[in-house]
Amino acid sequence: MQNFENVEITTDLLIIGGGMSASGAAFEAAYWAKKNGLKVTVVDKAAMDRSGAVAMGLSAINQYVGIKDGDNTVEDYVKYVKQDLMGIARDDLVFSIARHVDSSVHLFEKWGLPIWKDENGGYVHEGRWQLMINGESYKVIVAEAAKNSMKNLGDDGQILERVFLVEPLMDGERIAGAVGFSVRENKFYVIKAKAVMSLMGGAVHVFRPRSTGEGLGRAWYPPWNSGSSTYFCAKAGAELTCQEVRFIPVRFKDGYGPVGAWFLLFKSRATNAFGGEYMVERKAELDKWKPYGVVKPIPANLRNWLGMMDINDGLGPIYMRTEEAIQNIANQYKDDEKEFKKKMKELEAEAWEDFLDMTISQAILWAASDVQPEEKSSEIAAAEPYFIGSHSGASGAWVSGPQDLAPAEYFWGYENMSTIKGLFCAGDASGASSHKFSSGSHAEGRIAAKAAIRFILDNNSQPNVDAGAVEKLKATILAPLKIFEENKGKTTDPDINPNYIRPKMFMFRLQKIMDEYAAGVTANFSTNKPCLDRALELLGWLKTDSANLAAEDLHELMRCWENIQRMWQAEVHVRTILFREETRWPGYYRRADFPEMKDDWKVFANAIWHPAKGEWEMVKRPVIELT
């Protein structure tokens, strides 16, 4: 096997990831590091300008509280998130993000992001918390500000791109750095740090998507985040939370175009194929999910559930009634043809920008199907499950809240620090603080970065890293290259070889297990204990077989580790669904053997991997209301 040069870097703060939370963290850390003479190293597996979930752009900023305008209060946002997540959320963390998010949004605007304004200069809202933007270059602009801030550090500030970090380095109970490899050159990276930020986003392709041909790449969530945050934190021994709270978006079918503009701007309805409106006709079902089902806005998972009930009763497909919404608007302007034409031109551009800024595939699908929204409605459908704690899911690490907001049970020294000393999380990587979205992830990255710098100043010794442990990790991480090299000649087809499994088939094997036994699309989002036990059995064999993964090149080596990370995300997901003996988010998943929501389960279901023992521990944590 080609020999890999070791690249050793010693820094103070290591930021892993280059997405929205990492851009916030780099922006913030550079300022405090400069003031205190510290070093910051940022590592992204891709190119920061266009990496992470906002790589394509966005058409709306989904979290803006507008405190200065008196529109809303931070407490309003805390209530909204607690309600949407059926009572399971960390009020202190949601409060902490909501009190800072506006400053990130105001900075975005100064950096150059066009935010829509109304005639008297106020932001144009899509809904109570959402701002309309021209967001094609959103990530480019936010990454640019982070890079410009890091430039102020001179040689003490370093951004490494195309380096994929895999495993944490530990010094007893404290994190000491991370190891990984370049996807461009045969270089193994050993990065030692006094504090580490795991900001590697959420996970996709853990479950089998609806499209499995070329369309496999068109999931709602971008295919390049593979659960690295969950894996990295678990391997370090950090407590994880809400790993059962996956997210199932309902979007335009197959293209996954956003529906926000049609629901909120056009005031469109969603009905089944026979015109029935499930949000009205199935109101009684919402009473079963009190108090959440009877308080506006109805939680996203319950809206999903009512639509799923129509599908289960054979009343599908479900349609976004675009033609009806446009007709209603036409009626408002019936005596002013010119004004109606002007309004329609405006709305059409808005509808198409909603796709073109963030889901171009939906624009292609509409064009390829000759869709005229004013003539015909378009189908919407529930996607397969994703892990995205920054959106309407909640999975992530269990982190400390800020001292002025967190009760004793939720505070251990530094906001956003995990239960492992020196390991900080934000964005999709920090759990139980949903609905932060792009702006809140940026703000939470800043919050966590300042706390991490404070942690370094209070613990300013370089943790030691055992060279032997590094060599062992290096051998394990690079093993797939060796396995391919040694075995590829034993058959005439490099894909069909009894001595190894390639990452693509490994991923399909994982997706099939999760789809069929852990409440995927095929299982109609429902499962029970026997199915979950079967999933764990199959995942056990898959874990054993992961030692036989093979990789032909650096790209495929990354795919090997991405899929091992997906497998770990899958396992902790299954264990947590098994642990929580109730159904609380029916539109996300249902336990057929425990179909109701139970008061005694109004707790956090947390999971801890114990590296030494090689076992998972499941533990309940109290939900404490922020009074």
């Binding site: 300022y31 405190i67 105001h106 950096w111 410009n148 068109r218 198409w352 171009i360 292609i364």
Partner: protein, 146 residues
């Protein structure tokens, strides 16, 4: 639809210091075939159609065509991205064409000033304000629990 490369337009970015499409793809898919000096997508079924390779190519050699397993043939969506706006041409299967133009940024490329003119804020590592706050919040202080 996954991206594809038109060999007549692709020159392998030989004039540049790096292969633009290979540099930018968030999923490490665009690769340069060094013998032919032509780029290609090494795993179309893992392409999200984020169009970053399409937008960055200096010779407009990269395009996308609908995922063959669910998109009818004959349509195309093509961007022309400049420094402050982007123009989209949407060609329908029927041949109908729609054009849209949207702004993309209000400042010159590379010019983002980190503190946005809000100043540094308290400079106190121990308090709960962040860099540029409270000015960047438009408030006198960061909110805390009542």
């Amino acid at each position: 639809m996954p991206s594809f490369v038109n060999p007549e337009k692709c020159d392998g970015c030989k004039a540049l210091d790096k292969t633009a499409c290979q540099y930018i793809c968030p999923n490490d898919l665009m690769v340069l075939n060094k013998d032919l000096m032509k780029a290609y997508n090494r795993a179309p079924e893992m392409c999200w159609e984020c169009y970053n390779c399409v937008k960055i190519c200096p010779t407009q050699a990269v395009e996308c065509r609908g995922y063959a397993d669910f998109v009818p043939m004959g349509a195309s969506v093509t961007p022309m991205r400049s420094t402050d706006s982007i123009m989209w041409t949407v060609k329908f299967r029927s041949g109908q064409v729609k054009r849209f133009k949207f702004p993309i940024r209000t400042t010159p490329e590379g010019s983002a000033v980190p503190d946005g003119g809000f100043g540094d804020g308290s400079g106190d590592i121990k308090d709960f304000t962040l860099h540029t706050e409270p000015a960047s919040l438009g408030l006198d202080a960061v909110v805390t629990k009542k």
